[in-house]
């Protein structure tokens, strides 16, 4: 009972585990909870003692995490995790805000925090543990963020997709990845464009000032390029031709 009562038995996470570190001691508010395995998963952070009991922390409740190698502050190199909640005295997995109001402490209106330290026996793993936590934390942006106007549904997303001529894309690509996701038609269009740009450099196609009805197209970057047949009718219909 007591401070350890928040430890529960549960199976280790099976999905989305970005990093797993065995032989890791967990320390809460200066008191050791034993040795076990830390699971840094996309859904939550979990630690399971070798006996099979442990606890989980939800990323929205974690205010910060850090790698500490300052032995004068704490005698072992560790991953420090600060949680926005009272843990251990009363079981709570949610930040005080979620319960409606901040809980008042005996120390005036100080927010309760819980300090965890995860001490791996393998110190060299701390970088990987830290990075994995950064990645997982970034997957849980603050839903209660009232200060910013981040209501970017629809139009703004579509601006980029539209200009990339890929329409309503369901996933986000880096531009290298994006190239490999082009449809066959997109790939053909890209090759045609690149071919035309290459051709426009060579003198035999340098026909500036000569226009035929359906041949010359202007691209966004201001280059005038002779379009060699075949040209798919309407293929540039949705391109921006704004100068």
């Amino acid at each position: 009972g007591g401070a350890m009562s928040f430890l529960k038995r549960f199976p280790p996470p099976a999905e989305g585990v970005r990093h797993q570190q065995p032989e890791t001691e967990a320390v809460l508010a200066g008191r050791t909870l034993g040795a076990g395995t830390l699971y840094i998963a996309e859904s939550r952070l979990s630690w399971l003692e070798n006996s099979g009991v442990g606890f989980s922390l939800d990323y929205p409740t974690i205010s910060l995490h850090a790698v500490s190698r300052d032995l004068s502050a704490y005698p072992w190199e560790h991953l420090y995790v600060m949680v926005n909640a009272r843990v251990g005295e009363e079981e709570t997995k949610e930040a005080p805000v979620a319960e409606g109001e901040e809980e008042e402490d005996s120390d005036d209106d100080v927010e309760p925090i819980a300090e965890f330290r995860f001490v791996p026996s393998d110190k060299s793993a701390l970088e990987a543990m830290f990075s994995a936590m950064c990645e997982c934390q970034a997957l849980h942006p603050d839903p209660d963020d009232e200060d910013s106007d981040n209501d970017y549904e629809g139009e703004e997303y579509d601006v980029e997709a539209h200009e990339l001529e890929q329409g309503d894309i369901p996933t986000f690509y880096t531009y290298e990845e994006g190239l490999s996701h082009l449809t066959a038609e997109g790939q053909a269009t890209l090759e045609r464009l690149e071919g035309m740009l290459a051709q426009s450099v060579s003198s035999q196609y340098n026909m500036a000032g000569v226009r035929t009805e359906d041949s010359i197209r202007e691209f966004e970057d201001g280059m005038e390029v002779d379009v060699a047949p075949p040209v798919v009718a309407g293929q540039f219909e949705d391109a921006e031709v704004d100068h």
Binding site: I62, S63, L64, H65, A66, V67, S68, R69, D70, S72, A73, Y74, Y80, N84, V110, E111, I113, L126, E127, F130, M133, C134, Q137, A138, P141, D142, D144, D145, S148, D149, N150, Y152, E156, Y157, V159, E160, A161, E163, L164, F172, Y173, T174, Y175, G178, F219, E220, D221, G222, M223, E240, D242, H243
Partner: protein, 123 residues
């Protein structure tokens, strides 16, 4: 120059002052946290949700205890202030970040003609 690979994050950054914070990468700065602790270190990255990653950090907790942390990640929710270093030219930083975003958005080497980007008409 780091630009997010996420279209959503680029859009958010482009439309808020987070873009200024993202331009602070490599600079040493102080972040005041919501619980009144402070962290001074070199900015590694700032994402669109204002999550800040710092390296070589001097951390002063709310009781005033000072310690060093090799790396620190603070969630945006817990950031109260980010101090802009004196040597940073704010306007130039914002413009540089915007250019970086536009270079990524219009890949294919088209940024040469980008001076005529539609928004420029409002100048």
């Amino acid at each position: 120059m780091e630009v997010s690979h996420s279209i959503k994050e680029r859009t958010i950054a482009e439309n808020s002052l987070v873009i200024l914070l993202q331009g602070l990468c490599g600079h040493v700065t102080t972040v005041d946290l919501r619980d009144e602790s402070t962290a001074t270190g070199r900015v590694t990255s700032v994402d669109a949700f204002m999550n800040v990653r710092l390296a070589e950090v001097t951390f002063t907790d709310r009781q005033g205890t000072v310690s060093r942390l090799d790396e620190l990640f603070v969630t945006g929710r817990n950031v109260r202030y980010v101090h802009i270093p004196d040597e940073v030219d704010i306007r130039a930083t914002i413009e540089r970040q915007l250019q970086a975003i536009h270079r990524v958005r219009y890949f294919g080497g088209r940024d040469k003609g980008r001076k005529e980007f539609p928004r420029a008409k409002h100048k």
